[in-house]
């Protein structure tokens, strides 16, 4: 009978706390969104699964000696996993469209307004009872507006590890919701004629331009913003490996096996931060609300910047492409293309939107560097 008592005591039934049950439901919700709604499944599936595992009473997944504890310590605490993901993303990114039309970098800059405005919003939220965001917290939250998963996780792990779970979930969720969030804003800020604008075909970019580009980006980052060099450096390394043509086996591995392995671990480690005591707080609601605001402001800023540029540019610029400046590669560009096709069935904006889209990645890495340098 003694053994039976021990066995009963070692079931979870005797130890569940309410918060843990709620967090498991959150984990299941993330799995549902990943599998059924296909919201960024590559990240949200392991995050959701990790959230379930970390909230199992007695199992100790995230306590010293547990597998999620080790993965978090090795990969997130050190910042290594998001940087490796970023290297892989760099090895998947084609800057051809941006090099062909470098003005698009201004759209990637404008969309970062979403980040800095949200910073303001996060501080204002302190006026609501229950919120106490420091400037550091606010910076980590604001980066959701960058619409870039690894950048958000990297910055949050440096500035506000206890908010990491909510920030990562918000970032990936809103990236998945881009097709729902962006079109109304894009349509509200443009008229039918603007959306019908067709853009001139992009010139072909030479291999050599593509090789020099990541080195130039790295050089500028080194000169003006060393704090951004971990992110930008690994990204440029990946991109250089892709474009240089002499290390294809390394580039292929960075884009496939390495990024896949790290993605599994990164997702689980982020999920391990979805513990009841850290996630079930009014702060999380604030983070989710601020994330939506950040995406919306970033989209609007991009579109408005595109309208301004359109006025001064000789070549026609469809203001829709500004929305792709938030990054969320390649979804935001696809959304631009879709909204453009609705207005004009012959208007294929995909390639034109890829320029601001990848510019947005650089823009938010730079913004992250600024926040690290000034707040971190």
């Amino acid at each position: 009978m003694d053994k039976l008592t021990v066995l009963w005591q070692s079931t979870a039934l005797a130890h569940f706390q309410g918060g843990q049950l709620i967090m498991m439901a959150v984990g299941l919700l993330l799995l549902y969104l990943a599998i059924v709604k296909k919201f960024e499944p590559l990240l949200l599936l392991p995050i959701g699964f990790g959230a379930i595992l970390t909230n199992i009473p007695l199992a100790g997944f995230s306590e010293a000696g547990g597998i999620l504890y080790y993965i978090y310590k090795v990969g997130i605490d050190t910042g290594v996993f998001p940087l490796l993901i970023f290297m892989g993303v760099g090895a998947m990114t084609d800057f051809g469209a941006l090099i062909a039309n470098p003005k698009m970098l201004l759209l990637g800059a404008a969309a970062q307004f979403g980040i800095f405005a949200t910073l303001f919003g996060a501080i204002l939220l302190n006026l609501v009872p229950g919120f106490e965001f420091t400037l550091t917290d606010a910076s980590a939250i604001a980066i959701i507006g960058g619409a870039d998963g690894p950048t958000a996780i990297f910055l949050a792990s440096r500035l506000a590890p206890e908010l990491l779970g909510a920030i990562a979930v918000a970032a990936y969720s809103y990236m998945a919701l881009v097709p729902i969030i962006q079109p109304p804003i894009m349509k509200a800020l443009t008229n039918e004629d603007e959306r019908k604008i067709e853009m001139a075909q992009l010139r072909v970019v030479s291999r050599r331009e593509k090789i020099i580009f990541p080195l130039a980006v790295l050089l500028l980052t080194i000169l003006f913003l060393p704090a951004a060099t971990p992110l930008v450096g690994m990204f440029c390394l990946g991109n250089l490996m892709k474009e240089c043509g002499v290390v294809d086996r390394l580039s292929h591995t960075a884009q496939n096996e390495l990024i896949n392995i790290v993605t599994i671990f990164l997702g689980l480690a982020v999920g391990s931060k979805l513990s009841a005591d850290q996630f079930l707080s009014v702060k999380t609601l604030g983070i989710l609300a601020l994330g939506a605001v950040a995406f919306s402001i970033g989209t609007a800023a991009g579109v408005i910047m595109a309208k301004i540029m359109s006025r001064f540019s000789q070549q026609p610029i469809n203001p829709l492409v500004g929305a792709a400046g938030v990054s969320a590669v390649p979804m935001a560009a696809r959304v631009v293309n879709k909204v453009g096709l609705e207005a004009n069935p012959h208007n294929f904006l995909l390639m034109h939107a890829m320029g601001p889209n990848v510019a947005g990645v650089l823009g938010s890495a730079v913004a992250a560097g600024i926040l690290l340098a000034l707040v971190g």
């Binding site: 003694d2 039976l4 296909k38 590559l42 892989g88 084609d94 590669v329």
Partner: protein
């Protein structure tokens, strides 16, 4: 017989009983759960063509450039087969 061995044997016997009971109970509950899943899936069957269209398109930070469509792969596989045989 050594008394400590005797005591260990009793413990092992208890473990045998408790352990096998637990395994059987656990897997029996799982049988019930599988029946439940099957019923659930029969009552709420999958939509006939879940793949082609959905409100939210398949999304991924990681692009999938370089991944050929299954049809292309099938075509290529057939082509290779033909090539190998005519070689």
């Amino acid at each position: 017989m050594d008394s400590s061995v005797h005591q260990l044997l009793v413990e092992a016997g208890t473990l045998l009983l408790v352990g096998m009971s637990f395994v059987f109970v656990f897997l029996t509950i799982l049988i019930a759960a599988v029946h439940g899943i099957t019923l659930f899936c029969k009552r709420f069957p999958e939509p006939a063509t879940p793949h082609p269209s959905s409100a939210v398109p398949v999304v991924s930070q990681q692009n999938d450039a370089g991944q050929p469509s299954p049809q292309v792969v099938a075509a290529i596989t057939a082509a290779i087969h033909q090539y190998r045989q005519t070689k």
